[in-house]
């Protein structure tokens, strides 16, 4: 940030133009898992997966959709739906202020982004969570955008995909947030009635109210490797049962072993895998390689 920008009042100080791609902090990045020192550009070119140990770093909702969808013919759904503060919620900070700060920092208006588009020419509606937006928490906007996404899928006779990354329901919207669990689950009954597939992709982390609603209702449930997935957080469980949790507890591999998910798929293969699954359910010819 230049000295001039620092002097400007925050309203004017908004970065202009297409600045969605954040400037990398440095040229190098250390893998949190294997500690290998990597070129940022290598990591970015590898879907934020460590080329040495395949550790999956968390990624933004838009990068996620970029990885999954064809470049052409994308249309964002429900961006006009934006959060308010029905409870006048206040902890150490007012919810409205928290929202404003997060919105300008993230340049997103809430934690779910929904897009109509295609995967290898198969028409889809795909939703992805922005974990950095208040922990990907689900409030009224997430529920409404999800429901509109499902409706768009029904209207276009397209499959629906949701990539979850969320700590659960958003406390700041109180019971309205809890009701989004019921709302999103109910929306999926209509998709089902229309005979359209729903694939739920679970990424690190998928917890609480998101996990206990649409995330676990996929016709097919896919997880990325090593993602933390569960109802209660590990700390809450540890405090309740007063014992140390087994290794790998609530990780994707644990869920696969216990029969909770269908498969674990590497992020770099996710697009291909989704195309295979969706074309099978839609009984369309295999897409050209």
């Amino acid at each position: 940030m230049s000295w001039l920008q620092k002097l400007l009042p925050p309203k004017i100080n908004r970065p202009v133009g297409n600045s969605r791609k954040t400037v990398p902090e440095g040229l190098w990045s250390k893998c949190p898992s294997c500690e290998a020192v990597l070129y940022r550009t290598d990591l970015e070119g590898n879907a934020e997966v460590c080329p040495k140990c395949s550790y999956h770093n968390r990624i933004s909702a838009r990068s996620r959709l970029d990885l999954l969808l064809d470049a052409e013919g994308r249309l964002e759904i429900g961006a006009e739906v934006q959060p308010i503060d029905p409870l006048k919620f206040k902890d150490s900070k007012r919810y409205v202020d928290r929202l404003k700060a997060t919105q300008s920092e993230m340049e997103e208006t809430d934690s779910l982004i929904v897009m109509q588009g295609s995967i290898k020419s198969v028409g889809v509606v795909a939703a992805a969570f922005e974990f950095k937006f208040m922990g990907g928490s689900m409030g009224s906007v997430v529920g409404e955008r999800f429901a509109r996404g499902v409706q768009a899928a029904i209207d276009n006779r397209a499959p629906f995909i949701c990539v979850s990354a969320s700590g659960g329901a958003r406390m700041q919207e109180g019971l309205f947030s809890l009701m989004q669990m019921a709302k999103t689950s109910a929306a999926l009954t209509q998709l089902s009635k229309a005979g359209l597939p729903y694939v739920s992709v679970l990424t690190d982390p998928t917890m609480g109210g998101v996990s206990a609603s649409f995330a676990m209702l996929g016709d097919v449930i896919i997880a990325e490797p090593q993602a933390l997935i569960g109802f209660a957080g590990p700390r809450v469980i540890e405090q309740t049962v007063r014992e140390t949790l087994p290794d790998g507890f609530q990780r994707s591999e644990f869920l696969l072993e216990h029969g909770a998910i269908d498969m674990i798929v590497d992020r770099r293969e996710m697009r291909d895998k989704l195309a295979t699954i969706l074309t099978a359910f839609m009984r369309t010819p295999l897409s050209p390689v």
Binding site: L87, G174, A182, M216
Partner: protein, 329 residues
């Protein structure tokens, strides 16, 4: 002072201490009157009147945090008390047919005013042993799967469903996670949204988050006057947002967990009034007033065709949420 010395053995909450003291005094006088020639009945009468006013005053301005304590009162009537008090011919049905029977949820067939119904609710325990047995009303996946089995059974035989909600939340345990706590709750939300029978839900005590909602996707939702319904417990919210569980009372206030606030938001359809001082002070009266409310709402729902009922339920589910619509830049 030992508040449990009076003859009804009511236990009092902290904010009820003035009531407890007055009741103890009345009790003392009664005792004196029994073996003395002096007539102090007038004085007793006066104190009783005072006690009534005092209770009324205290209960007229309960904070959200105080209400959540009444909702968790150890003497509050639980699901099985309501089943005994309101229904007849109850036959409890056990088990999820896959893993085990979860005592934190009870359910079965029963008669309400002679009509066949399915009644399902969370069950807490009264003494130490039973509390443990009922796991403090915190269900495991098999509890929700038992409920699911009973929903389906009710649907098959066209029986209206009445759910009684009273749980701190779904159990956060190792086994619960291994057996798919999330999926069990999610499945109930999904199935309840399209179940082809009328469903009435009553929050009788604590409506604790997803663990409560798995019994709460209904056509008509009632709350007893001093029950609560929340996305997270006030303590949990305080320890996350204020980093201190001591701020529970502030959290309770701002979370909006009381029947009056939730009714104003349109998230609850009806508040069932409780006897003075809470349901536990006069359980019989509570039963009567809930019975009337249930009879009332059941008759409203049953005149609707199933298709109409389901369409209304779906529209209602889709209407949940408060947001604005602004043009996108």
């Amino acid at each position: 002072m030992n508040v449990k010395t009076n003859n009804v053995k009511t236990s009092f909450l902290e904010f009820e201490q003035p009531i407890a003291e007055l009741e103890a005094k009345i009790e003392e006088l009664r005792y004196v009157q029994d073996d003395s020639a002096l007539d102090i009945s007038e004085e007793i009468e006066r104190l009783q009147q005072k006690n009534k006013t005092l209770t009324k005053d205290i209960y007229a301005k309960l904070t959200a945090w105080q209400i959540s304590q009444v909702a968790r009162h150890p003497q509050r009537p639980y699901t099985l008390d309501y089943i005994r008090g309101i229904f007849t011919d109850f036959e409890e049905l056990h088990g999820d047919r896959a893993f085990s029977d979860d005592p934190a949820i009870v359910g079965g067939i029963a008669r309400f005013d002679g009509q066949s119904v399915m009644v399902i609710g969370h069950q807490k325990g009264r003494d130490v042993k039973e509390r443990q047995y009922r796991n403090f009303g915190m269900p495991r996946p098999e509890g929700y799967r038992k409920a699911l089995r009973l929903y389906r059974l009710a649907e098959k035989f066209g029986m209206p469903i009445i759910t009684l909600i009273d749980t701190p939340g779904a159990y956060p345990g190792i086994g619960a996670e291994e057996r798919g706590q999330s999926e069990a709750i999610a499945r109930n939300l999904y199935v309840m949204a399209e179940l082809r029978v009328p469903i009435i839900g009553v929050i009788i005590g604590e409506g604790g988050s997803g663990g409560a909602l798995a019994l709460g996707v209904v056509d008509h939702l009632m709350m007893l006057q001093y029950s609560t319904y929340s996305v997270i417990s006030p303590e949990g919210c305080a320890s996350i947002l204020w980093k201190s569980a001591d701020k529970a009372s502030e959290a309770a206030e701002t979370l909006g967990i009381t029947a009056t606030r939730l009714k104003a938001f349109g998230l609850v359809d009806r508040i069932v009034p409780e006897p003075m001082g809470g349901a536990h002070r006069a359980p019989e009266d509570m039963m009567q007033s809930l019975r009337r409310a249930l009879a009332d709402e059941l008759s409203h729902l049953q005149v609707k065709s199933i298709d109409n009922l389901l369409a209304t339920r779906y529209d209602r589910l889709m209407s949940y949420g408060k947001f604005k619509e602004s043009p996108v830049k």
